[in-house]
Amino acid sequence: MKKENDNGKPRHRYGMVIDLDKCTGCGTCMIACAAENNVSVRPDQSDKERAITWMRLYKITNGKEFPDTEVSYFPRPCMHCDHHPPCVSVCVATATKLDFNTGIVSQIYTRCIGCRYCQAACPYGARYFNWWDAYFPKDKGLDRYLSPEVSPRMRGVVEKCTFCHHRLMRAKEQAYAEGRREIEEHEYQTACTEACPVQAITFGDLNNPDHKVSKLVKHPFTFRLLERLGTEPKVYYYSSRDWVRKLGDNFLPGEYKPVLHKTWMQEEWSTKPGRDTY
C-alpha cells in the first residue's frame, strides 16, 4: 500500500479496531454517533428498514444449544474501504470519493442524486437513504442538539459514517492555531470511540507506527469483514473466539483455519493473551 500521496507527503490512513470481546452490545456508540452527526429520527424509529443508523449494532450467536450458546455483538460503522470502494466506483454523480490523504470515504450530500447505486454496491450495508426530510421533533428538544459542524441531509440523498470528519477538521484548526501541521493521536477520535463505556473501540492512523491501532491490527486475532472481497476495509475487529472470526467471511465447510491452536498457544505472545501484549 502506498504510504505517500502524489506530492510525496506522508498520507494518513485512519482506521478503527473494535474489540468484540469487550463489546457488551449496550448501543452507546449508536446513540453517540447519531447525536454527533445530526442523524435524524423517524416518528417510528422501530422501523429498521427505514431508520438511519450510521453505526449499527448486530447480534450474532454461535448457533449452539443451551449450555454451549455464546452471543457476541458487533458494531458496524462504514468500513472506509481502502482499495476501490464499491460505492465510489458505481457513483454516477461523483458525489462520493476516497480521500487519498486520510483514507476516509467522503461524500457531498448536495451532489448526490439519490440513485442508491452505492447502497446496492456496498457489501456491508453501511449506506442509508433519506426517504424523508430530516426530522428533529421540536417538542422533544431534539433540534437543540443539532451540531453546526455537520450539515443535515435532505430528502433523497444517501448518507453514511464519515469517521466524524468534522472532528479531524476541528483538530487541524487547533493544531494550526498552535503552529503545528500534524495532529496527535488523541486529538482526533470519533464520537463512538469516545462514548464506548468499555473502550472497545480504538481509533487512529494505521500508517503511523506510534498509534495504537497500527499495533493492534497486527495481532493474529484481528480480522476484517468479507476480507476476501479485496476492498481492504479500514475497520478491523478483534476477537479471541474462533466462531466469531469465522462469521466474518463466507467460508466453505472446512475452509476456515482456526488461529488458536497448540502451536499458537506455545508462542510467547499467547501466554499473555489479548491486546496487552502489544
Binding site: N5, S106, T110, E149, K172, E173
Partner: protein, 240 residues
C-alpha cells in the same frame, strides 16, 4: 424564408445575386444570408442584454447594511487599534479564537472594548452617534448582512489559509480595508445566497479574474490546484 427553401421559384433574385458576388454558389442567396445573420445578431445581443443585465437586476435584491462601518478609518494606524501591519489590525476585530476557529464579523462586545460609553463618542461622525444610540446603549447586536456566507454544506477553515497558507485577507475578500462605505448587499432571491458567492457577473466572463470576484467550488479548486495543493480538492476538505 420561403424563397431560400425553394431557390428555383425566384429566378430574378438569383440573377442579381450571382452578378454581385460571383464566387458564391447559386443556391446561396447572399442578400437573404446577410439578412439572416443580421437578425441573428440582433436577437443574440437582445438576449444577452436580457440575460446578463436585466435578469441579474431582477434576480438580486439590493439591501443596505443596518448601519455604515468605515473600514478605512478603523484600520488606519493613528486610531489606536493594536497591530504593526494592516493584516494584524484586521485580525484585531476579525480574530481567531484560541481553538483556531474564526470569529468572522465581530460581535458587539468587540466594539464596546473601545466604544464603551454611549454618552461620549470617540469621534464626531453621525454614524457613530447612531451606533451608540441604537446599539451600545441598549446592548443590542447589529444584524449585519454577511457578504460571504457559504451554504450549510461548506466547511472553510480561515486559519488554514491565513496562518498556514499565508494568504492575506484581501486575496479572497477584496480590499475591504480601504472602504469608507459598506457595499450594498445583494441577495439572490431564489437561493438566498449573496452575490459575492455566485459571482459579480452572471455571464461568468471576467477579464482578469480575481478570487474576490466569485467564491464557488470551482474557484476554490482552481486556486488549490494553482498553489500545488491538489490533495485539498477531496470532497471532505471543503464539505461537511
Amino acid at each position: 424564408m420561403k424563397n431560400r427553401a425553394n431557390p428555383s421559384e425566384r429566378p430574378s433574385q438569383s440573377e442579381g445575386a450571382s452578378s454581385r458576388a460571383g464566387f458564391f454558389p447559386k443556391w446561396l442567396n447572399i442578400n437573404v444570408a446577410v439578412q439572416d445573420v443580421g437578425f441573428f445578431l440582433v436577437g443574440l445581443i437582445a438576449a444577452l442584454i436580457v440575460g446578463w443585465v436585466v435578469f441579474p437586476a431582477v434576480l438580486y435584491s439590493k439591501q443596505t447594511q443596518p448601519m455604515n462601518f468605515n473600514h478605512r478609518l478603523h484600520v488606519s494606524p493613528d486610531i489606536g487599534i493594536d497591530g504593526e501591519t494592516r493584516e494584524e489590525r484586521c485580525a484585531y476585530c476579525h480574530e481567531f479564537r484560541d481553538d483556531g476557529t474564526f470569529a468572522g464579523i465581530p460581535k458587539l462586545d468587540k466594539c464596546t472594548e473601545c466604544h464603551d460609553d454611549p454618552e461620549s463618542p470617540l469621534g464626531d461622525t453621525p454614524q457613530e452617534k447612531e451606533f451608540l444610540e441604537r446599539y451600545v446603549s441598549g446592548g443590542k447586536e447589529i444584524p449585519w448582512l454577511i457578504y460571504s456566507r457559504q451554504p450549510d454544506c461548506v466547511y472553510f477553515s480561515h486559519i488554514a489559509h491565513v496562518n498556514m497558507g499565508e494568504l492575506s485577507c484581501d486575496t479572497c475578500h477584496g480590499d475591504f480595508a480601504d472602504n469608507e462605505k459598506l457595499p450594498v448587499y445583494q441577495e439572490n432571491r431564489l437561493t438566498g445566497y449573496s452575490i459575492n458567492i455566485w459571482g459579480k457577473r452572471i455571464s461568468g466572463i471576467y477579464g482578469d479574474k480575481k478570487p474576490a470576484d466569485r467564491m464557488k467550488m470551482d474557484d476554490c479548486a482552481e486556486c488549490h490546484t494553482k498553489m500545488g495543493q491538489e490533495q485539498n480538492n477531496s470532497c471532505f476538505v471543503c464539505h461537511k
